[in-house]
């Protein structure tokens, strides 16, 4: 009984670590490209987040299962090939069922292959831990990533168009800040957000 309690608390901790303490985007600064590229609006950000969760969980499962067979110098190659396979599945799925979203995200869906978060989790967690811990870790990290994307996207969408999910939230007198919907806004908003997180956690860089 004692032992299973220990295990449970460890699982919960792994999960929470991904959400805040080791949040991939805000604390570890991984996976910047999609974070900046798809956050002009909430919908693509959410789609991207879900695709990343799917790929992350699947690749962590496979990597964790084959962790004892890996040769050190071929490790990264095996990870990338596994990830590329699942990204292809996700891409074909989006093309078939959400063709408009797939067109909007364009090359950023296949770019999940080189998203550092997934390789980092395969290397740092899945290649050393048993199956269940790897899954929990992947889910935690994936949700942390998705939530961050959505927060960033809602700030940008609200200020650049005055709407979220087509619902107008700002008073009529509000003049949209068009710049926030452009690349400029992505860089600056993310910079300020990381600054804010640094204040909250009291981290001195």
């Amino acid at each position: 009984m004692e032992n299973s309690n220990d295990n449970t608390s460890r699982y919960v901790q792994t999960m929470i670590a991904g959400l805040w303490r080791e949040n991939p985007t805000l604390r570890l600064l991984l996976g910047m490209c999609p974070t900046l590229a798809v956050t002009a609006a909430v919908k693509p950000a959410l789609t991207m987040g879900c695709s990343v969760i799917f790929v992350l969980v699947c690749s962590n499962i496979i990597v964790s299962l084959m962790r004892n067979l890996l040769k050190p110098h071929l490790r990264i190659l095996m990870f990338t090939l596994t990830i590329a396979t699942f990204v292809t599945i996700a891409d074909l799925f989006l093309k078939a069922y959400l063709p408009r979203m797939s067109e909007m995200l364009g090359p950023y869906v296949p770019l999940i292959i080189v998203n550092c978060i997934i390789i980092c989790r395969a290397e740092a967690c899945a290649s050393k831990n048993p199956l269940f811990v790897s899954i929990i870790d992947a889910v935690g990290m994936g949700i942390g990533f998705t939530v961050t994307l959505c927060v960033l996207a809602s700030v940008r969408e609200l200020l650049s168009t005055g709407k979220i999910f087509e619902v107008s939230l700002m008073p009529n007198a509000f003049v949209p800040w068009a710049a926030l919907g452009m690349p400029v806004g992505a860089f600056i908003t993310l910079g300020l957000m990381i600054g804010l997180v640094n204040i909250i956690t009291g981290k001195k860089a």
Partner: protein, 196 residues
């Protein structure tokens, strides 16, 4: 003559107007990681330029000779990533043999070129833009590498001076780099609409 103008336009377009770092957000990770010192940034830029030219050309060939129009098209991403990983391995071996000091100073960032989004991103964009001649693909890939080198060198120059500036504690490091990149992106927006 016409081909020459098209190639020149394509080159300028990908270096300044559609710069991969500032308008497509590709290659941000090494951009934040290696842009601390200008000599390292330049070396990184050259390595990326080499890999991107090689893999851009190879993936274009593979795409057009083998994949397009056959059922093998679904394996596109897997093929692309294999080509890139191979090209990076080549650069790594070459540097270790001929420039060991540069090789040591790159450390972990060298194998990480494989996962540099700029490279895979360019290969995918070549496909998306419907580049239809080999020469154009070569010029565009080379231009993308030059654009990346330019962006990372500008950033390294700014960051060397930023060390002396009085930045608020919470913004030190990555945040201020991102904000600077935002301001640079704004400057590069001035080129938008010049070509294409």
């Amino acid at each position: 003559m016409d081909t020459l103008i098209i190639l020149l336009m394509g080159f300028i377009s990908i270096v300044v107007v559609n710069n991969l770092v500032f308008t497509k957000f590709l290659g941000i990770c090494p951009y934040l990681g290696v842009s601390g010192r200008i000599d390292m940034a330049f070396g990184m830029g050259l390595a990326v330029t080499f890999v991107i030219t090689l893999s851009g050309t190879l993936t274009w060939l593979i795409d057009h000779l083998l994949l397009i129009g056959t059922p093998l098209e679904v394996t596109r991403y897997v093929c692309f990533i294999l080509v890139i990983a191979g090209a990076v391995q080549l650069v790594e071996m070459y540097l270790r043999k001929f420039f060991p000091s540069l090789y040591d100073s790159f450390g972990i960032f060298l194998p990480l070129i494989t996962t540099n989004c700029a490279i895979l991103g360019l290969c995918l964009f070549l496909n998306l833009w419907g580049t239809d001649s080999l020469l154009e693909a070569v010029v565009l890939s080379f231009g993308a590498g030059i654009g990346f080198t330019m962006a990372i060198c500008i950033m390294a120059g700014i960051r060397e001076n930023l060390d002396l500036a009085d930045v608020p504690g919470c913004l030190k490091g990555a945040p201020i780099t991102l904000i600077t990149a935002g301001l640079l992106a704004m400057a590069f927006m001035g080129f938008a609409g010049m070509i294409r």
